[in-house]
């Protein structure tokens, strides 16, 4: 009775390998699961199973957020940090996209740059803080430099890959249609690689966010990362938790923005299947 099998009753029918589930369920699952975690968190703290110093309750963390918002600290911190993130990531992007594209298309450029970049990208960014201060001082420039270093080297290799993985026959088609190399680059390779590059930008700005605390580790007066490091000194656990969650939240919004925009920009790429 194959038809019977297809219509398994109960939750089982939502747990079949690789099968799609209704959109409402997918979305609800994404809301309900975190909500459950918060509930557990709340219960654990409310029942006094852990000391508030180690884990304050969700209410306390939320109250800390409200306090920061009321006093204006939150906006001041957030705007400074967002500015640094954007500046660091944009500088990286503006350089990585063209360089990655060149590396993906010209073996000579790839040969010249790839070993170097592959090496640098394994260097721990934290270890570069002293140098970054030496080079860029202790102002915003140093923070932006750290974010740049944390982003650029990964980004450039990923963009190179995005370019390399496009269908070679598209380039051949361009040649048979009489386009010059320049035209093929701009009018075929670029648009073909664009969705992949956009995805790279989305993933790498996430990494830029994860470097925020490192960037604001030294000689910063404000910023979301700074706030967390300061709180460590006073053991203000709720400040640490709120700050961390808030950075995560901003990261989530960034990701959402990129996904939505990508869907609009590359609508042609979505209808597949």
């Amino acid at each position: 009775m194959p038809i019977q099998d297809q219509r398994k009753a109960g939750a089982g029918r939502y747990l079949r390998l690789r099968r799609d589930i209704p959109d409402w369920l997918f979305t609800s699952a994404g809301v309900i699961f975190p909500a459950l975690l918060i509930l557990v968190w709340w219960a654990v703290t409310e029942l006094g199973l852990v000391r508030p110093l180690f884990l304050p309750g969700p209410g306390d963390v939320l109250a800390e957020g409200v306090r920061q918002a009321r006093e204006g600290i939150l906006w001041a911190d957030a705007s400074v940090s967002i500015y640094r993130i954007l500046a660091g990531w944009l500088t990286a992007t503006v350089l990585a996209v063209p360089i990655g594209i060149l590396m993906g298309n010209f073996r000579l450029i790839e040969g010249a740059l790839e070993p170097l970049i592959s090496t640098i990208r394994y260097m721990p960014v934290v270890a570069l803080i002293p140098l970054s201060i030496l080079w860029a001082g202790i102002g915003d420039g140093q923070k932006i430099l750290i974010l740049f270093l944390g982003t650029f080297f990964q980004q450039v290799l990923m963009v190179m890959d995005n370019v390399k993985t496009i269908d070679m026959n598209l380039i051949k088609a361009g040649q048979t249609l009489g386009f010059s190399n320049r035209e093929i680059l701009v009018r075929i390779i670029l648009p073909a690689a664009a969705p992949g590059i956009w995805d790279t930008l989305r993933i790498t700005i996430g990494w830029t966010w994860t470097y925020l605390v490192v960037a604001e580790l030294v000689a910063a007066n404000e910023g979301l990362g700074r706030r967390i490091m300061d709180a460590q000194r006073y053991l203000a656990t709720e400040t640490i938790l709120f700050g961390t969650l808030f950075i995560g939240f901003l990261g989530f919004l960034t990701d959402y923005f990129f996904k939505r925009t990508g869907r609009v920009l590359f609508a042609w790429n979505r209808q597949r299947g």
Partner: protein, 269 residues
């Protein structure tokens, strides 16, 4: 003379890890204007390489390809290419893909628009002009590819297993469509496939390629009348030709399998 396309001792040797590997070897071929020639051969025997050389996308390491007497030195708009796999510009609509192929031609705006319209009809894509390739089925995508390759009116159409990824029914429909378009637009076709039925059904002449290195094993005329009905595959004349080609290919496949077996044996020591 008389031939539009001539291959004269064409060969291609690749350098694989410092060792020369012959993919195509001394291929001589003369193809008349408006002729439809199929090239069959087992996988990896050099069919794509040969077609790429004619297309000017790869350089031969020996011999010469001439079109109307002039040596081929690179890709040109006297040749259209339909690739193995679906190579469309995904970010352009059906009409956009076809129009893009006309960008380098000196036609007026109105003439270009008219050409695009004409070929949308010719390949039966009316109603889908504004669809993106991602919305189309495999057969429809290859129809766009055919229109894109023909819209600038090349003299020669090069096709590399264009229907290889399609299901049997769609493939049959596409073959008929191709023959119709070929009949209407008078173009010389060089069609690569590893499907013997397809090769015989379409062509005036079938070239069987031997493998490793790819060289011509046999040329067989297909004197079957046109238009050919789809059930001609059951016709005794068709079957006889097919049988000859199959035995050729089987011989080649066996040979290359023995070669492969021999080399694994050797590598065991």
């Amino acid at each position: 003379m008389g031939a539009l396309l001539t291959l004269d001792g064409v060969g291609k040797t690749f350098d694989v890890d410092g060792k020369p590997v012959a993919a195509v070897d001394s291929v001589d071929l003369a193809i008349a204007e408006n002729e439809f020639v199929s090239i069959v051969g087992s996988s990896g025997c050099g069919k794509s390489t040969l077609l790429n050389i004619v297309g000017g996308l790869e350089e031969a390491t020996a011999g010469e390809v001439r079109i109307a007497g002039k040596p081929v030195t690179g890709p040109g708009r006297d040749r259209g290419f339909v690739f193995q796999g679906y190579s469309l510009f995904e970010w352009k609509t059906v009409a956009g893909n076809i129009r893009f192929a006309l960008e380098k031609s000196r036609l007026s705006r109105a003439e270009k628009a008219e050409r695009v319209e004409h070929f949308i009809d010719a390949v039966g894509l009316r109603g889908f002009e504004n669809a993106y390739p991602g919305q189309l089925s495999g057969g429809m995508r290859q129809r766009v590819a055919i229109a894109r390759a023909l819209v600038y009116r090349p003299r020669i159409l090069l096709m590399d297993e264009p229907f290889g990824a399609l299901d049997a029914q769609t493939r049959g429909m596409m073959q008929e469509l191709l023959l119709r378009v070929w009949g209407d637009h008078k173009v010389t076709v060089l069609f690569v496939t590893h499907d013997v039925d397809e090769a015989v059904f379409l062509a005036d002449r079938v070239v069987v390629l031997a493998s490793r290195p790819g060289r011509i094993k046999r040329e067989i005329r297909v004197p079957l009348a046109r238009p050919r009905p789809y059930d001609i595959v059951a016709d005794p004349g068709f079957v006889a030709i097919k049988r000859e080609i199959l035995s050729d290919i089987r011989e080649e496949t066996l040979k290359s399998m023995q070669l492969a077996l021999g080399s694994t044996e050797r590598s065991l020591y």
